[in-house]
């Protein structure tokens, strides 16, 4: 009887208030983030972990900078070099954010075989995945900051703290993070339906988006239909916002002579208001779509027994 009373009187009672639910979700998120961070970081000593965190983004920038140097005969345009460094550094966040959720799901289903137990726990699976993904996003933030630092210190990126447009930067970063996480949710929804080899899917999707978002070259060089597709992706507006906020007046990835933007609006480059509006609208649409896709995927996975299906080949 004492045990029964303990259960009935415990915090585990099924009927919780909204505040209690939120508190529990936050606690679950925190625990998942802590596990995610330990999984990502405690396999080695801090020095090797630091190298691991920055090697990938720095090498990605190096590839592009050598391409620039080779074509320009060793004298690349400083404006274009800054464009590439900022875009490439920020792109690390996209890779980390998009892959985090999908890989957490695949890790828990295929390797640790814990997904079904997580699903059965009282917390929403999505909250746990978001927590696990947050750790990878945090590592990506570190890589992006160091890449930007290297760009400013050694690669001639004209960064002046006094000129930073904070009113553009802060909302751009906030909305950008939301859109990256939303895209990560879409990838998690896809990987819930597919096999173990879908480890490469987040990188593949991010790589394809790399083409249309103006990360390392202006959209104006793309065919018009592809430019229109790019304008529908929140990452395009996010990159433009961050770039124009950090280095005001720098080369625009959206506008420019011959761009779809210039043809549609009659202006050469979008202003801060247009960038934020574009980012807000595309982020809202992407986030709502992502949540709907995830809900459908989770339901289908449960119906078809995919949550504990391991598919190693």
């Amino acid at each position: 009887m004492g045990t029964m009373a303990g259960v009935v009187g415990s915090r585990a009672r099924p009927l919780r208030t909204r505040a209690e639910s939120l508190r529990d979700a936050w606690r679950s998120f925190g625990t998942a983030a802590k596990i995610g961070w330990q999984t990502e970081s405690n396999w080695t000593d801090p020095l090797l972990f630091f190298i691991y965190s920055v090697a990938k983004p720095l090498a990605a920038v190096a590839i592009l900078l050598v391409m620039l140097a080779v074509v320009s005969g060793g004298n690349p345009d400083p404006g274009f070099r800054a464009f590439v460094v900022v875009g490439s550094a920020m792109w690390g966040l996209v890779l980390g954010g998009m892959a985090g959720l999908a890989w957490s799901l695949l890790d828990d289903r295929e390797r640790y075989r814990m997904l079904k137990y997580l699903y059965l726990s009282p917390n929403a699976l999505l909250v746990l995945l978001l927590g696990r993904g947050a750790a990878r996003l945090a590592i990506a933030v570190m890589g992006a900051l160091i890449t930007l630092g290297v760009g400013v210190a050694f690669l001639g990126v004209g960064f002046d703290l006094g000129r930073v447009d904070w009113l553009l930067l802060v909302p751009s970063l906030a909305l950008g993070f939301v859109s990256i996480v939303a895209l990560g949710i879409v990838l998690a929804a896809i990987c819930m339906q597919t096999r173990q080899e879908s480890w490469s899917y987040p990188d593949a999707v991010a790589g394809a988006m790399f083409l249309v978002v103006g990360a390392v070259f202006p959209l104006a060089v793309l065919p018009q239909a592809v430019q229109v597709a790019g304008l529908m992706v929140p990452l395009t507006w996010w990159l433009e916002g961050v770039r124009q906020a950090l280095v005001p007046g720098s080369l625009s990835s959206i506008g420019g002579t011959g761009s779809v933007w210039a043809q549609l609006t009659g202006t050469i480059v979008p202003g801060s208001g247009a960038i934020l509006l574009g980012l807000l609208v595309t982020t809202v649409v992407t986030t709502l779509g992502a949540l709907a896709a995830y809900r459908w995927s989770e339901h289908r996975a449960k119906e078809r027994g995919l949550l504990d299906q391991t598919t190693g080949s």
Binding site: T39, E40, W43, T44, I51, Y52, S53, A55, K56, P57, A59, A60, A62, I63, L64, V66, M67, L68, A69, V70, V71, S72, F80, E110, R111, Y112, I190, T194, R195, E197, S198, W199, S200, Y201, A204, V205, G207, A208, F210, L211, A215, V216, F217, P218, V221, L222, T310, T311, G312, S313
Partner: protein
């Protein structure tokens, strides 16, 4: 009373036909396999390990979209970087060629190098080691099974890239180009086997380091530009990474006469480097796999999961 005969005894299966009972005087004698039997068993191992990879492609068709179409778009992004810079047309050819070769690099690294670590995590590695087969057969079977999708991806990147972006190859020596390509693959497989042997001992380090070193490997291999432009770093890469030397030679052979394709060495010399790499890597891999297996057994790491 008539004794019932088991159905298996009446109609022997194919497996029963292969493994005929043979009475021997001792376990040592039973372990004395003929050379033919060893070769046939290892060939069966390769086919058996390649089979799930090939059949998996048929069962999960989403890979066509995610592993062929999307990587082509990634390659296209680098094409447009060169277009934005108004680079000569052969640079776009470099990107297309590099994009095709990444399929093989990914195959070797992810489906061979890291695979023994995955198998350990899934509880299969100890089973492999207790069977009378060579680990090299298992690894080669895995990689050759994945080669189907890699070849398809590389071919599509090359063909579609050439058509869409107007890349025109200028090839004078098809034989040497084919030989360099084949040697690059064999050297890459040897390299992958060495990594696999290292990763038997490692835990999560293997996975994380492989992931972190992908872009640096692409950078020093000169994936999108002639590796000679990296100077001393490129020369070091040529002597260590099969992708670097293979790409440098193939670039020279596929775009003959272009001033931009100047390599670190001549294609013939680079083919010899690849021969040396193949011999050394496969030899080292053979020794390393045995040594690492012994160490892993000695230190009890064969069945250690999640380490």
């Amino acid at each position: 009373m008539k004794e019932a005969t088991p159905s298996a005894a009446r109609t022997p299966s194919r497996a029963a036909g292969r493994y005929v009972y043979r009475q021997t005087a001792s376990p040592q004698e039973a372990a004395q396999w003929s050379r033919r039997r060893i070769i046939v068993t290892n060939l069966r191992t390769m086919i058996g390990r390649a089979y799930p990879r090939v059949i998996g492609l048929k069962r999960e068709p989403s890979w066509m979209f995610f592993e062929i179409l999307l990587p082509f778009l990634t390659t296209s992004a680098f094409v447009f970087v060169y277009r934005a810079l108004q680079a000569p047309q052969e640079f776009i050819g470099f990107v297309v060629l590099g994009g095709a070769m990444t399929a093989f690099w990914g195959n070797v690294i992810w489906t061979m190098g890291v695979q023994l670590y995955w198998e350990k995590d899934q509880g299969n590695l100890d089973l492999y080691f207790t069977t009378p087969i060579s680990m090299m057969s298992v690894l080669f079977g895995m990689a050759s099974g994945s080669l189907v999708s890699s070849c398809l991806r590389a071919a599509i990147v090359l063909l579609v890239g050439a058509l869409v972006y107007g890349v025109s190859f200028a090839i004078n020596d098809w034989l040497l180009l084919g030989g360099v390509f084949a040697l690059t693959l064999t050297a890459l497989y040897g390299f992958g086997m060495i990594l696999a042997s290292l990763f038997v001992l490692w835990g999560r380090e293997a996975y994380h380091l492989t992931q972190a070193l992908q872009e640096p490997a692409y950078f020093v291999s000169g994936l999108n530009f002639p590796v000679a432009k990296l100077g001393a770093l490129g020369a070091v890469a040529i002597s260590v990474i099969p992708l670097a030397v293979g790409l440098d030679a193939m670039r020279q052979l596929a775009f003959t006469g272009s001033a931009a394709t100047a390599g670190v060495l001549s294609p013939g010399a680079e083919a010899l480097v690849l021969v040396a790499m193949t011999v050394i890597f496969i030899g080292v891999a053979r020794v390393a796999l045995r040594k690492m297996e012994w160490l892993a057994r000695h230190e009890g790491r064969l069945t250690l999961r999640g380490g």
